[in-house]
């Protein structure tokens, strides 16, 4: 046993062209935990997930998943590692030309030689776990946004991965679907022994379910801690982020120190 950190990110820097997105990120995810990566839109959270999935390579630093450094793997090695990862894309990214059942069965058919009977049982089990066994013959276009995301979750866990990444799982959901999705992430992590990485900016929902939280701003980690620590934090950014949404009217989509925010508001009034 190497250690119980499934994901280890050390001093990772990354930029698109000349524009730096990540400037030295350190992050670890222990096995069996639900980790949240928070921050405002455009701060590089999704880029972080793409780095862990190996879709992009870091400019500097190392990304290790299950002890393997992603930068040193070739295509075959990367694909071998990805079979043990699941990813839930922002809007599900279901394959729109095949049914819900076939979507969940996709990886089983691609990567295993299981007979069709066994695949059917496994798919129905996964769909049952997300409460959508009855929807197995529907096409993705017939699903609501929340249902599509649950199907995508069933698809992501089809091969019983060790790591599941969620890109904005709460975006654009009504409160009921939001609660369902949050509970599912927690429950699946515990029952299947997964590790979950949730990228989100929905503070209230994620504080209920996560074990550890990283705050990303301007390409660096500005704060980290357990849910209780984050709630009690008096760092201005975190405080604003956590309590801001409860207050309502303050727009959160622009990361800035609070005094700069004040200036902007002052300008608007003038």
């Amino acid at each position: 046993m190497h250690n119980d950190n499934l994901v280890e990110i050390e001093n990772v820097e990354f930029g698109y062209g000349d524009r730096p997105v990540l400037k030295g990120i350190n992050l670890t995810a222990r096995r069996g935990q639900v980790i949240a990566i928070m921050g405002s839109s455009g701060c590089g959270k999704t880029t972080l997930l793409r780095l862990i999935g190996g879709q992009i390579k870091p400019g500097r630093g190392t990304v290790r998943v299950a002890g393997e450094s992603l930068g040193e793997l070739d295509q075959a090695g990367l694909y071998r590692l990805r079979r043990k990862m699941g990813m839930l894309f922002q809007f599900g990214a279901l394959f729109t030309d095949i049914s819900v059942f076939d979507n969940v069965a996709f990886q089983l058919r691609e990567h295993t030689d299981l007979p069709e009977d066994a695949i059917r049982d496994l798919v129905l089990m996964k769909l049952h776990a997300v409460g959508l066994r009855g929807a197995s013959q529907l096409m993705p276009a017939e699903l609501s946004g929340g249902m599509a995301r649950r199907v995508a979750l069933a698809r992501a866990i089809a091969l019983e991965p060790m790591l599941v990444m969620y890109d904005e799982p709460f975006a654009g959901l009504d409160p009921i679907s939001l609660g369902i999705t949050g509970n599912l992430i927690r429950r699946l992590t515990d029952t299947l022994g997964l590790t979950s990485l949730v990228v989100t900016h929905d503070v209230q929902e994620s504080l209920k379910i996560v074990d550890y939280i990283y705050f990303v701003s301007e390409g660096v980690i500005v704060a980290e801690g357990t849910a209780a620590e984050i709630r009690a934090s008096d760092l201005p950014y975190v405080h604003q982020f956590v309590h801001g949404e409860a207050d309502g009217p303050v727009p959160f989509h622009y990361p800035a120190p609070s005094y700069a925010d004040d200036l902007r508001l002052g300008k608007q009034r003038a």
């Binding site: 999935g53 879709q55 694909y79 071998r80 990805r82 079979r83 990862m85 699941g86 990813m87 894309f89 922002q90 809007f91 990214a93 279901l94 394959f95 729109t96 030309d97 996709f106 990886q107 691609e110 990567h111 995508a152």
Partner: protein, 272 residues
């Protein structure tokens, strides 16, 4: 005011720079397309190992193009019959109508018109589908599931198009000859025996028919490669996908016509 020739800010310099820039962009895209084409060929194993994937795509590219191909072929043949008869009867050579209809269809119209219809019917659909799959992150999702989208999504569509195209062109030609027969023999009254026998003695299996088939295979490769590349390369937005679809139709139509000239020059100049 003195007219100084300020080279640094002159319109001429600007436009030369723009020209150079777009030339570089064009060359870069051609390079990407070539690499894409090679990648598709290298990842074609899945398309044949699991031929069901290719059959499925043949339904969408081939079977769904059948109606437009058959109907257009029939009408083109009928028009050829009418026009050909008008011209030939001036020389008293109405019996050569079969030759005229068959040669025009088998050598040129069959492969070219079928390819143009294929580009606008199937090519645009392929681009839109791949572009949307990219825009909705389906290709990314596939990659994250350790499935190579080039092997799983692109290559089967490529081979489906390459297989469908000659079949569609042959159907177009056959339908056109039937249309010419309907108009020439049944409607106008050209002698049926002369129509078929002159056609048979003038149309050469190798020089005319085989070359027509070769043409349609080349067109199939060109159209599907352009369509798939444009889709795969499309910016993941609504405008990006619609622009790529338009470019597919324009670029593949031009490619078909240009390739047709080159192939015709090689095939028919070299022989006589």
């Amino acid at each position: 005011m003195p007219m100084t020739c300020d080279w640094e800010n002159s319109v001429l310099k600007q436009s030369i720079e723009n020209l150079g820039n777009s030339a570089l962009q064009g060359v870069r895209r051609i390079g990407f397309a070539a690499r894409f084409f090679v990648a598709v060929l290298l990842h074609s194993g899945t398309a044949f190992r699991r031929f069901g994937l290719t059959i499925r795509e043949m339904y969408f590219t081939g079977v769904l193009s059948l109606i437009i191909i058959l109907v257009s072929g029939l009408f083109v043949g009928m028009v050829l019959g009418l026009q050909g008869y008008e011209t030939l009867q001036t020389y008293g050579a109405e019996e050569a109508l079969g030759v005229l209809v068959a040669l025009s269809l088998v050598r040129e119209l069959g492969p070219v018109v079928a390819a143009l219809l294929f580009a606008s019917r199937a090519g645009s659909a392929i681009t839109a589908e791949i572009g949307l799959m990219k825009a909705t992150e389906q290709l990314s999702a596939m990659e994250m599931m350790a499935v190579d989208p080039i092997a799983r999504v692109v290559a089967p569509r490529f081979w489906a198009g390459v297989i469908s195209m000659p079949l569609l062109a042959a159907l177009f030609s056959a339908m056109g000859i039937f249309g010419g027969y309907l108009v020439g023999v049944q409607l106008i009254g050209v002698d049926e025996g002369a129509f078929w026998s002159q056609m048979k003695s003038a149309v050469d299996l190798e020089r005319d028919i085989l070359n027509g088939v070769i043409k349609s295979v080349v067109f199939g490769v060109a159209i599907t490669t352009i369509a798939l590349f444009e889709g795969y390369d499309a910016p993941p937005t609504a405008e990006g996908v619609s622009g790529a679809t338009t470019r597919t139709v324009v670029a593949s139509s031009l490619a078909v016509l240009a390739l047709d000239f080159v192939l015709t020059a090689f095939m028919f100049r070299g022989l006589n």
